[in-house]
C-alpha cells in the first residue's frame, strides 16, 4: 500500500516541475489544478491506509471545494489579460 503512495508522490512531481518551468500563466493554472486534485486523492489514500475516517472526510471536502480558488483566480486572470 505504501508503494502506491510512493508512486503518487513521483507522479505529483510532474505537474510540480511543470509549474516551476513553464512561464505561461495558464499552464501554471493547469498544474495547480492537477496538484490540488492529486493531493486530495493522496489524502483519501492515506485515510484508507490508516483507516481514519476523519482524514477521509477532510479529503472529500478538500477535493470538492478546493478547486473553487482555482476558478476564482482564473476569472481574475482572464479579466487581466483582456483589459
Amino acid at each position: 500500500m505504501q508503494w502506491i503512495l510512493i508512486a503518487m508522490i513521483l507522479i505529483l512531481l510532474i505537474p510540480l516541475y511543470e509549474a516551476w518551468q513553464d512561464d505561461d500563466i495558464w499552464q501554471r493554472m493547469l498544474a495547480f489544478a492537477s496538484i490540488a486534485t492529486k493531493t486530495s486523492i493522496m489524502i483519501l489514500v492515506i485515510s484508507v491506509l490508516r483507516d481514519d475516517w476523519m482524514i477521509g472526510v477532510v479529503g472529500v471536502l478538500i477535493l470538492s471545494v478546493g478547486n473553487a480558488a482555482l476558478m476564482l483566480l482564473a476569472h481574475v486572470l482572464r479579466r487581466m489579460n483582456e483589459g
Binding site: Q2, L5, I6, I9, L12, L16, A19, W20, D23, I25, R28, M29, A31, F32, I35, A36, T39, S40, M42, I43, I46, S47, D52, M54, I55, V57, V58, G59, L61, I62, V65, G66, A68, A69, L70, L72, L73, V76, L77, R79, M80, E82, G83
Partner: protein, 270 residues
C-alpha cells in the same frame, strides 16, 4: 554517514508502521513542502507567485492530513488557499495598474460580449506600446473615458487618473493648462533636438519644423514617466510629465493609488 542507519532500519520499518516512526513516504511527502516553498520565494511575477501559493497550500494540506491534523488541513485548504489567493489576486490586480484617461470619441460603445471598452484602431498603436511597456513591470492598462479634453485635464489634476492620452491637435489647443498645472515638456524622445522642448516649455509650441505626433501623453507620476519614456516610440506619441502644485482641494481620498504622487516641488531632468 546516515546511510547505514537508514539501511539498518530498512528491514524493520514494517514493525514501526503503526507507530509514529518515519516511513519513506512520510519523508517524501514532507519534503514536498520546502520544495514548493522554495519555488514560491523565487517567483518574480506576482500572479505566478499566487498560483504557486495555491500549490503550496495544497501540499501543506496534504502534509497536515498526513500528520493527523485534519482540522488544520481543512483550514489551510479553505482559508489559506482559497480565501487568501482570491483576496491577494484582487489586491494585486487593483494596485498594479495605470489608469489612462482617454477621450470618449477614441472609445466606441461597450461591447455586449465583454464589459470593457474596445479602443478604435487609430488609438491601438499607442495603447499596445503602453501595454508592452507596462507588461515588463507586471502592470496593466485601465482605460477611463472622458467627454472632452478639459475633463481629461481636470481628471489629471484631481488625481482621478495617472496619465491622460490626448490627440496632438487637442493637446495643442489645450496647451494652456489650468492654473494648478505646470507643464514640463521634457518628454521628448531620445535623439530629438531640445529646441522643440524649450518651445513647448515657454508655452509657444513650435511644431512647424517637425511632423506633428498623433498622440500626446501627460502623466503626473514620476515613476510612470521613468518607465514609459525610454520605451515609448517617438513616432506614435510623446510623453510629458506634469508637476501638480500642492492644492488641498484636489486631493481625493477615494483613490488609494494617488498616494504615489511625486512631491509638488519635483523637477524632471530633461
Amino acid at each position: 554517514m546516515c546511510w547505514p542507519t537508514v539501511q539498518a532500519r530498512g528491514g524493520i520499518v514494517a514493525n514501526f508502521s503503526t507507530d509514529l516512526s518515519v516511513d519513506a513516504y512520510v519523508l517524501a511527502i514532507a519534503m514536498l513542502l520546502p520544495i514548493t516553498a522554495c519555488m514560491l520565494v523565487t517567483q518574480v511575477n506576482p500572479y505566478h507567485a499566487l498560483v504557486i501559493r495555491g500549490i503550496l497550500g495544497a501540499v501543506a494540506a496534504l502534509v497536515y492530513a498526513l500528520f493527523g491534523a485534519a482540522d488544520v488541513a481543512l483550514t489551510e485548504a479553505l482559508v489559506g488557499t482559497m480565501l487568501s489567493i482570491t483576496l491577494y489576486a484582487i489586491a494585486v490586480r487593483s494596485s498594479l495598474r495605470m489608469r489612462l484617461g482617454v477621450l470618449e470619441e477614441a472609445l466606441p460603445e461597450r461591447s455586449p460580449v465583454a464589459d470593457y471598452p474596445q479602443p478604435l484602431p487609430a488609438a491601438t498603436p499607442v495603447l499596445s506600446a503602453l501595454r508592452q511597456a507596462l507588461r515588463q513591470y507586471h502592470m496593466r492598462l485601465e482605460l477611463v473615458a472622458y467627454p472632452d479634453p478639459q475633463a481629461l485635464q481636470a481628471a489629471l489634476v484631481t488625481k482621478d487618473v495617472h496619465t491622460i492620452l490626448l490627440p496632438s491637435a487637442t493637446a495643442i489647443a489645450a496647451s494652456q493648462p489650468p492654473d494648478s498645472l505646470t507643464g514640463h515638456s521634457s518628454g521628448q524622445p531620445l535623439g530629438q533636438s531640445s529646441g522643440q522642448s524649450s518651445g513647448q516649455h515657454s508655452g509657444h509650441p513650435s511644431r512647424s519644423h517637425t511632423p506633428p505626433r498623433r498622440y500626446q501623453l501627460q502623466t503626473r507620476i514620476q515613476r510612470l514617466y521613468e518607465i514609459l519614456q525610454p520605451v515609448l516610440p517617438s513616432d506614435v506619441a510623446s510623453l510629458d510629465y506634469l508637476t501638480l502644485k500642492s492644492n488641498p482641494q484636489t486631493h481625493l481620498p477615494h483613490d488609494p493609488s494617488a498616494a504615489v504622487e511625486p512631491p509638488p516641488s519635483m523637477e524632471v531632468q530633461s
